[in-house]
Amino acid sequence: MSSSLSGKLPEFGRFPERIGAILPPVVLIVALILLWSWSAGTGLLPKWLLPSPQAVLGEFSHHSATLLKHARMTAFEALGGFALGALAGAGGAFLLTLVPFLRDMLYPYALASRAIPIIVFTPLIVVMLGRGLVPIILIVAFATYFPVFLALLRGLNTLNADRMELLHSLSATPLQILWKIRLPSSLPMLFAALKVSASGAFITALVTEWIGSNVGLGYLVMVSGQYFKLATMWAAIFSASLMTLALLGLIVLIERLMGRYTSLATEV
């Protein structure tokens, strides 16, 4: 059968090659920070737009307690919503795969649900459920379930004829077919979708906080912006980015650990 040219992750080789892969982005970020620092020092960048890196860094050390409080809230919202959304998306995909009747009935609505700009409804939802963690988690979940749902539904229903015939000849039950071939072969698509959902979760949480909360990094960004506390604002923005990266990194790590599913699953 055909070799798996596509679908294979770039492999990190031994020491020198690994340095080769890591060095360029590190050089870039160091250069950018130096440029930033230099332009802030010479006044090329006005302080009210972007304070110096030292000032932002100082914010992290002086106001770490405040930052931590807000960051923890945002993390709860984003991670909770992400987990809930991913579970709902996966559950929906399984259900619609196993019950063709439900698929015919619900699939158009699942697609249409994508068109609902859920963030716009935040004020309404806050009126209904009050401010706080729960409504934001629900909004994040709604905003992030879709990529997982669609990718898994596609993956579970993209059938490799040879594998299906093999399991058919072995007289496998539909459930065995689901666990033993449909799910494993849809994992690469699932991980791609999880990465999309992960960054979406943080963005949704931050924006929802503008309206629906008085804690969280999104709230902090808005409030410190209004009071021209630019260093605080940037510290909050960087914190949010770091958390998003951490979640993405975790997903990539799991994907790597499951390499035999996620990198080889295309074809042998």
């Binding site: 059968m1 093999l166 058919h168 000849s169 033993k180 035999r260 080889l264 295309t266 042998v268």
Partner: protein, 295 residues
């Protein structure tokens, strides 16, 4: 071939030297009605007037036309013919993958669907499909896993089968780390773990080197003799057909039909010395003539 229902049980007396277990345990029909019916019908592979028409929208392809054959229980048959003449399709009719448009196919007197449900055949696909995320041993044990055998039995049998096809030491490898020929052998091993009454094989030795192929030919014949299993095997090789057959079924294309059935009278206990037999060359020549005959 007709026989009483008990003949199934008597088959269990065959010594399973190569795996040391009883054929009856796995292969007796669990379903009583099927068992009773099976006893009064041809016990081997039987086909009568099989037509297969594939429809795609408005146009249709007649893949098989009026194919009939009767392969007695425990005997060996190969399907040979030009590419596209319907060999795989005929095999897949017996495997309950393709439903015939007309005609009857029976395995041990039961329909392909019942044969599949009762797990009395094992199929080796043309592409020797492996699940790429499973190690070789897990791929080989897949059939037993699906039939719900306990883990220790599964692995014990899978290891034996792997040793048999010369893949000892590759248990933990992934399919992508093996050559095409090694994957074919793993697919054969997977079929053997099932201890099938019928072995349906679609070009199982296609990607193998001459030496391994020779060894596996006689290994397969030995297993077939010990288990009394019936063989239907698709091949493109004339010598392979002669070595592995009691009957060579020659097919011609457009539409696919059986043009000739050649009996090969080498009996049992075949050895590699077969190739030196003057009759071997005669059979080869006869088969070549049949293949070159205009349809």
């Amino acid at each position: 071939m007709r026989g009483p229902a008990l003949s199934l049980a008597f088959e269990g007396r065959r010594p399973w030297h190569w795996m040391g277990l009883d054929i009856v345990m796995l292969n007796a029909f669990p379903d009583e009605a099927t068992r009773v019916r099976a006893a009064t019908l041809p016990a081997g592979l039987y086909a009568d007037g099989i037509d297969v028409v594939f429809r795609r929208g408005s146009h249709s392809v007649q893949a098989l036309k009026d194919c009939s054959l009767d392969i007695p229980r425990g005997s060996w048959a190969t399907l040979i013919g030009a590419s596209g003449c319907g060999k795989s399709t005929l095999l897949r009719v017996f495997a309950d993958i393709v439903k015939p448009t007309a005609g009857t196919a029976l395995l041990h007197g039961v329909s392909p669907a019942e044969a599949r449900a009762n797990r009395i055949y094992a199929l080796v696909q043309q592409g020797s499909t492996m699940l790429p995320w499973r190690s070789i041993i897990d791929n080989v044990a897949l059939g037993l896993e699906i039939s719900g055998l306990p883990k220790s039995t599964r692995y014990a049998r899978a290891e034996e089968a792997l040793a048999l096809v010369g893949l000892k030491g590759f248990e933990k490898s992934l399919p992508s780390e093996l050559s095409g020929g090694m994957r074919q052998r793993a697919a054969i091993a997977r079929a053997l773990t099932l201890r099938p009454r019928f072995l349906l094989m679609d070009e199982p030795f296609g990607a193998l080197d001459e030496i391994t192929r020779d060894r596996l030919h006689f290994e397969l014949l030995r297993i077939l003799e010990e288990t009394g299993a019936t063989l239907l095997l698709v091949t493109h090789s004339i010598s392979e057909a002669v070595i592995l057959s009691d009957k060579v079924i020659v097919m011609t294309p457009r539409p696919g039909r059986i043009s000739e059935i050649i009996e090969v009278d080498f009996g049992r206990g075949r050895t590699p010395d077969l190739r030196g037999d003057p009759r071997f060359v005669q059979y080869e020549a006869q088969l070549r003539r049949a293949l070159h005959q205009p349809a």
